[in-house]
């Protein structure tokens, strides 16, 4: 018993004052937790993008728009189709320093059978592919068969369902793990299936041929040999193969990681500003509250509460406020961020992958702890100021 219930009574019986302090700390916690979840998601999104693009060099048609649409496809899931002669693949393979060259072929569906949206279809060569294949293997190790497709996690169709593409029926055999990139909205098949789909598309009037009679591919992913200079291989490819552009994968995404670190910097600055502001406001609020109640505290001293006891009382109140505010803030931020993950990803146009549960828990715990600490700091400061005065002096004021 003792004074242990006094802080709770003090808080519950002044609901207005308590609510103000709790809301203030909640704001602090919400900004920190929300901000760090968004930044963390962007970071893990970029990591997963890099993992999916384990290539050193990407070779694609020289047309100016192919580079742009390639990137949009990866980042935002927009559809894009550009083609070059399949013979390019052999030329790339023949280049010095190239270890693996894996082709991919793109096709945009007209309309999926729901909602007005096009889907990107990506054909891969399972024998040599080293970017998408391991990702598909996680869910479907036996390899994509004829007219079998794997779908990104944001594609509506489920495993076992039939997906109609250009009047061709394909069977969904796997749903892939989330990457937080545009790859989540794409459909994957092997090259044989892709050739059939391309033919069907042509029958529908969607032209992709660059010259009659030859097979087409859209991009070649290149991994260079150990010890080979990526820049050298890249410039050799650019110089010796006609009508293609070779791009170093890393350079392709430097602006992505640049804007990511820009966002991270802005978020950190914002969080810092909110913390500084909230810390000042909290300090002032606690100081004001304690100043306003100094007579009450003097009375407690008069009734035999020691300095230490009074400090404990004040710290207990601020800790309870801080804890309630921190939990509320984390909860509100969670409601503001997690249900809108897809929206944030779309609006930012950057890879966005929510970190795993362990990381999130650590973030939430860290936020609560930090908020509590700030509250205690403010309380301790105010309490220390208070206990410097003799209660007798306080009791005289305005008596």
């Amino acid at each position: 018993m003792g004074t242990s219930r006094l802080p709770i009574k003090n808080l519950l019986r002044k609901p207005g004052r308590t609510a103000a302090l709790v809301l203030l700390t909640a704001l602090l916690a919400a900004s920190v937790f929300g901000g760090s979840v968004v930044v963390g998601s962007l970071r893990s999104g970029l990591q997963s993008l890099e993992a999916r693009l384990g290539a050193d060099i990407i070779v694609m048609p020289a047309e100016a728009e192919s580079k742009v649409s390639f990137k949009n496809m990866l980042l935002q899931g927009t559809t894009g189709a550009f083609y070059m002669d399949a013979a390019v693949l052999d030329e790339v393979r023949a280049a010095q320093g190239v270890q693996i060259a894996a082709p991919q072929t793109f096709l945009a569906s007209l309309k999926a059978d729901c909602c007005a949206i096009k889907v990107q279809i990506i054909g891969i060569d399972p024998d040599v592919d080293f970017t998408v294949k391991p990702w598909i293997d996680e869910r479907y190790a036996q390899g994509l068969g004829d007219m079998e497709v794997a779908v990104g996690c944001k594609v509506t169709a489920g495993v076992g369902e039939t997906l109609k593409i250009y009047e061709q029926y394909t069977r969904v055999v796997a749903k892939l793990a989330e990457t937080g990139t545009g790859l989540d909205t794409a459909v994957y098949c092997n090259m044989d299936t892709m050739q059939k789909l391309l033919a069907a598309a042509e029958a529908k009037g969607v032209s992709h041929k660059i010259s009659s009679g030859s097979d087409v591919i859209s991009a070649v992913y290149v991994k260079v040999k150990d010890g080979a200079d990526v820049a050298q291989v890249n410039s050799w490819l650019n110089g010796h193969i006609r009508k293609v552009t070779a791009v170093r994968a890393r350079s392709m995404f430097t602006d992505v990681s640049d804007s990511l670190s820009g966002i991270a910097r802005a978020a950190r600055a914002l969080i810092g500003a909110v913390w500084a502001l909230a810390l000042v406001i909290l300090l002032v609020a606690f100081a004001m509250m304690i100043h306003e109640r100094r007579r009450e505290f003097a009375v407690l001293r008069l009734l035999g509460v020691s300095r230490r006891g009074l400090r404990a009382e004040i710290l207990a109140e601020t800790a309870l406020c801080g804890l309630a505010g921190a939990l509320l803030g984390v909860g509100v931020a969670a409601l503001g961020v997690f249900p809108f993950t897809t929206l944030i990803e779309t609006k930012l146009g950057l890879p966005y992958l929510t970190p795993d549960a362990g990381t999130l828990l650590a973030l939430a715990g860290g936020t609560v702890l930090a908020t509590l600490l700030v509250g205690l700091l403010a309380g301790a400061w105010a309490a220390a100021r208070l206990s410097r005065t003799d209660p007798g002096a306080t009791l005289r004021e305005g008596a």
Partner: protein, 130 residues
């Protein structure tokens, strides 16, 4: 007794955001060809439920004596709104559609908050009667 005004005002504000939002900033998209999807009709239903909740909240503000009962009525009314997008009325299948990214989570959170406020309001007004 007097304090139970606060949840009523909160619910009024929430329901107005829901009602107005369902037709504007939270609304579903119109297809390229101008046709409507199921999500469009879900938003119409949400408009109605938000409106109903707003009227109940206004009544709770005006009729002090009936406040506890009106709060009780708001609980299933908010629950209905909570279940509308996705559960009672289907939305688009693609998770990247606006109705799935924005309308559904936003209305569910708003209706959920209204439900909570109605519960709090009911407890507060019941205790006040005693």
């Amino acid at each position: 007794m007097k304090k139970s005004i606060i949840p009523a005002v909160v619910i009024l504000i929430l329901s107005l955001i829901i009602a107005v939002g369902s037709q504007t900033f939270l609304g579903a998209c119109v297809h390229d060809d101008g046709s409507f999807g199921a999500c469009h009709w879900a938003c119409r239903a949400i408009l109605g439920e938000g409106g109903l909740l707003a009227v109940l909240a206004l009544m709770a503000l005006a009729l002090k004596r009936e406040r506890a009962g009106l709060f009780i009525a708001m609980i299933p009314a908010s629950a209905l709104g909570l279940l509308t997008p996705g559960t009672l009325i289907a939305l688009c299948k693609m998770p990247t559609m606006r109705c799935r990214m924005l309308t559904q989570p936003a209305t569910m959170i708003l209706f959920g908050a209204a439900l909570l406020a109605a519960l709090v309001g009911w407890l507060m007004s019941r205790r006040g009667e005693k």
